[in-house]
């Protein structure tokens, strides 16, 4: 049995275990059978279908989006420390989302999609600015240049968010809570809000799985192998910012998922992007469902923001990867 096949089996099993735990564990223990048992207790059915299930699905979608976007950015940048945040895409999405809440923007024909669309617009605009700026600095658009530009934009956009928060007064607490990241009390409408974009973004990245493999050997090499590097790079950046924008719009800023999951996936199942992308998608979903479970049970009845949990796991992993790459003489 190939490494990849084992990976798919283990990852899918892990995802089902995570869903099972996410649905049944909590302040009220609910058996998983409630999902299909028509004769189950009405209160239990309500808890599962109205509260737990949408929460689990949303956490899964957000985790999957961030993880696959991270995997794609890492492949593109040839940098294992890259994730949606490094490029400033996340901060751009946050600015879009915070602005939507701050100004109370509502576009009639977009309806519930207003928030994710503005978040994605924030992500994309940031991305285009980052690329334009990087291009001005260095026409060959070296990867290092893009990352550095992303950090500059991240810092700048972070201060824009802080400024908006300072000006909100009343709603201050709510936005800060949102910034730390959470998937609680969102309901099915948020799942509906996120789903189409998650599917499109994931599809865009999956289309470029082999191109990402070629780009691991450098853009020049990829060009020699027949990859239309400019076009493919753009597709990957658009797909990635779409996923990041959506995740930020529905759950706020949840860090490190895009870093931890692809890294673990590569470590366990190899670095062929044909498998790293889908496996990261599945494992990202499982990881965030479990993190959400921990965040709402660890100091119950109080809920921790989910971003605290992911950062708690993610920062040491970040440090570990950094250490290892330095030792290897990489980066």
């Amino acid at each position: 049995m190939s490494k990849a096949l084992i990976g798919y089996i283990l990852s899918i099993v892990a995802l089902f275990v995570a869903i099972w735990l996410g649905v049944s564990v909590g302040s009220v223990k609910v058996p998983i059978s409630t999902l299909w048992d028509t004769g189950a207790d009405a209160i239990a059915t309500n808890i599962v279908w109205k509260i737990r299930m949408p929460r689990v699905v949303l956490a899964g979608l957000v985790g999957a989006s961030l993880a696959i976007a991270g995997a794609a950015f890492q492949g593109l940048l040839k940098n294992p420390l890259a994730d949606p945040y490094t490029l400033g895409v996340s901060s751009g999405a946050s600015v879009g989302a915070v602005a939507t809440l701050f100004f109370g923007i509502s576009v009639p024909f977009l309806g519930i999609y207003t928030l994710p669309v503005f978040s994605m617009i924030g992500a994309l605009v940031t991305m285009l600015l980052v690329i334009t700026f990087a291009k001005l600095v260095d026409r060959a658009m070296k990867m290092e240049t893009i990352i550095l530009t992303g950090i500059i934009f991240s810092s700048f956009l972070g201060s824009v968010i802080s400024l908006m928060i300072a000006l909100t007064g009343e709603e201050l607490r709510q936005i800060i809570g949102w910034l730390l990241g959470s998937v609680s009390m969102r309901g099915w409408s948020f799942v509906q809000m996120a789903l189409p974009f998650v599917l499109i973004g994931t599809f865009l990245l999956w289309l470029n799985r082999r191109e990402l493999n070629a780009m691991l050997f450098g853009e020049e090499r990829a060009q020699h192998l027949g990859v239309n590097v400019k076009k493919r790079k753009m597709m990957i950046l658009i797909g990635g910012s779409m996923l990041t924008g959506t995740a930020v719009a529905v759950s706020g800023t949840i860090g490190f998922v895009g870093l931890v999951v692809p890294h673990m996936t590569r470590l366990l199942f190899g670095s062929d992007n044909r498998h790293v992308l889908p496996l990261s998608f599945i494992n990202g979903a499982a990881l965030l469902i479990v993190c959400d479970l921990v965040s709402r049970t660890i100091i119950s009845p109080t809920e921790l923001p989910i971003g605290v949990i992911t950062a708690f796991i993610g920062a040491p992993v970040f440090a570990f990867i950094f250490f290892r790459q330095r030792k290897k003489g990489g980066i």
Partner: protein
């Protein structure tokens, strides 16, 4: 196949290559040479579409380079860049399989039997089969380079561009890689353009060479037209000499160092000779450049011990060379430093004389056994000639001889020897005519290669005159000693 027309280009606004034109045919291997910074890599990047072309045109199969899409171009042209680093680890097979990228189409880009065949063949050609499932970053530099060669071959493009493919490889891997590539050119008609650092490798493997200097084509042509002393010295600004390859009709170069090494200035004299019961030995302090037809270390080379060994008339051995080497080793002469000859004449009968010339002296040694003298003009009348009985002639010169001088010295010495035999009325016992030598004569010319340069050594020159006189005198004397010993009249 590929035509480059007046191409200029480079990075940003900085023009690195100027007005380069050349054409490469199907199955041809073109080597690009030039010193560092002469624009070799830039030229390759422009041809492969990575760098911007400011003016001119690159035509591939009659179509302009810019009209090709990325995938179409990759089907026409594979590129092997210099060794590069990678962050994530890939298996050897996956890396090679990437070479099939331009051939795969559709949403799922399914792996076809043709893809599989190309990858397997590429692995076979580069001898990478047993590494198939290994991780790339665990391989040595040479093995990694072979993986990328396999990747380029798996691409199955009719044009292959290489940027210093033998960089960082040991000579076995250099040879292996270039043999593989060249075989592809010959058998599959693949057109190859490769940058070389090593002029000798380029000359050896390429059909034509393009020498670049400061972004322009200095010369384009067959290796013997490009690898010329003056041209290479001007472009590379280094002193070299050229010499032929021992097996192939290709010129090779040798670097001439400009370092002053401490070499003994002592001239050689007849005192360097020592005669023992079974050896005549000449030992110099430093190596002399030698041309000889000896048993051990014949041909040209640098040696400092010269041994003329006496063997019995009944000496017979299946492997004369091996026996002689053993003998030399036993007597303290290392193979690397020693030229060895044999004679049946008593060593004490060797005639050694020194002759002064305006540029320095020459020393001549002759041992002559003429019991089986031969008239060379009638040797064809006799089926079997005995191998015993030899005239060994050594000429050791204080001076620097050119290649011509070495050859002329051999001619002069031979003519002089023949004259000595005639004077002594030595006859070929089978034909009764005056002999010209024996059936196994040997000659050795050695020179210190210091002091005055001696361009020629025929009888018109000072040295030629001395060689003529010396060899004649020594040979006559040696023959007389031989006659006396044999009790001839």
């Amino acid at each position: 196949m590929l035509r480059v027309e007046n191409v200029s280009g480079g990075y940003d606004r900085k023009m690195i290559i100027k007005n380069v034109s050349f054409e490469v045919g199907k199955g041809e291997m073109l080597g690009i040479l030039g010193p560092n910074g002469s624009g070799k890599s830039t030229l390759l990047k422009v041809i492969s579409g990575i760098l911007h072309m400011e003016s001119g045109n690159v035509m591939i199969d009659g179509k302009s380079l810019i009209s090709y899409s990325s995938k179409e171009l990759a089907k026409k042209m594979a590129v092997l860049p210099q060794l590069h680093s990678h962050t994530f680890s890939h298996s050897v097979r996956d890396t090679i399989a990437l070479g099939r990228y331009p051939h795969q189409t559709g949403l799922f880009s399914s792996w076809s039997a043709e893809d599989e065949e190309a990858v397997v063949e590429a692995m076979k050609l580069t001898a990478m089969e047993r590494y198939e499932h290994q991780m790339l970053d665990l391989l040595s530099g040479g093995e990694q380079q072979r993986v990328f060669v396999a990747q380029a071959l798996a691409q199955q493009a009719p044009i292959l561009l290489l940027d210093e493919p033998t960089n960082h490889l040991d000579i076995a891997h250099q040879k292996q890689l270039l043999d593989t590539i060249k075989t592809q050119a010959i058998e599959k008609g693949i057109t190859i353009i490769s940058i070389f650092h090593d002029i000798n490798l380029a000359s050896l493997y390429c059909d034509r060479l393009l020498l670049m200097n400061q972004g322009e084509v200095k010369v384009l042509g067959a290796p013997q037209e490009v690898v010329k002393k003056d041209q290479i010295e001007t472009v590379y600004k280094a002193r070299i000499s050229t010499n032929p390859h021992p097996e192939r009709p290709k010129p090779q170069i040798t670097i001439l160092p400009d370092v002053n090494e401490q070499r003994s200035d002592r001239t050689i004299t007849a005192d360097n000779f020592q005669v023992t019961a079974d050896l005549v030995v000449f030992q110099a302090e430093t190596q002399l450049k030698t041309w000889s037809s000896a048993v051990i270390n014949a041909g040209s080379g640098w040696y400092k011990n010269f041994v003329n060994r006496r063997v019995d008339a009944s000496y017979a051995c299946d492997n004369v060379q091996e026996e002689m080497l053993e003998y030399l080793a036993k007597n303290g002469f290392s193979e690397a430093d020693t030229v060895g000859m044999m004679t049946a004449v008593k060593t004490t009968d060797a005639v050694i004389k020194e002759y002064d010339t305006p540029f320095g002296s020459i020393v001549i040694m002759v041992t002559a056994g003429v019991g089986n003298a031969v008239d060379v003009s009638r040797a064809h009348e006799v089926e079997m000639l005995p191998a015993i009985g030899t005239i060994n002639t050594w000429i050791i010169v204080n001076g620097e001889l050119t290649d011509e001088a070495f050859i002329q010295a051999v001619i002069t010495a031979t003519e002089s020897k023949t004259k000595a035999l005639a004077f002594e009325q030595v006859k070929d016992p089978r034909t009764g005519t005056i002999a010209t030598g024996t059936s196994t004569d040997s000659v050795l010319i050695a020179a210190t290669q210091k002091g005055r340069q001696i361009p020629y050594a025929g009888p018109i020159t000072e040295i030629g005159k001395k060689i003529g006189l010396g060899v004649y005198e020594c040979t006559v004397e040696a023959i007389q000693i031989y006659k006396k010993a044999k009790g001839w009249k």
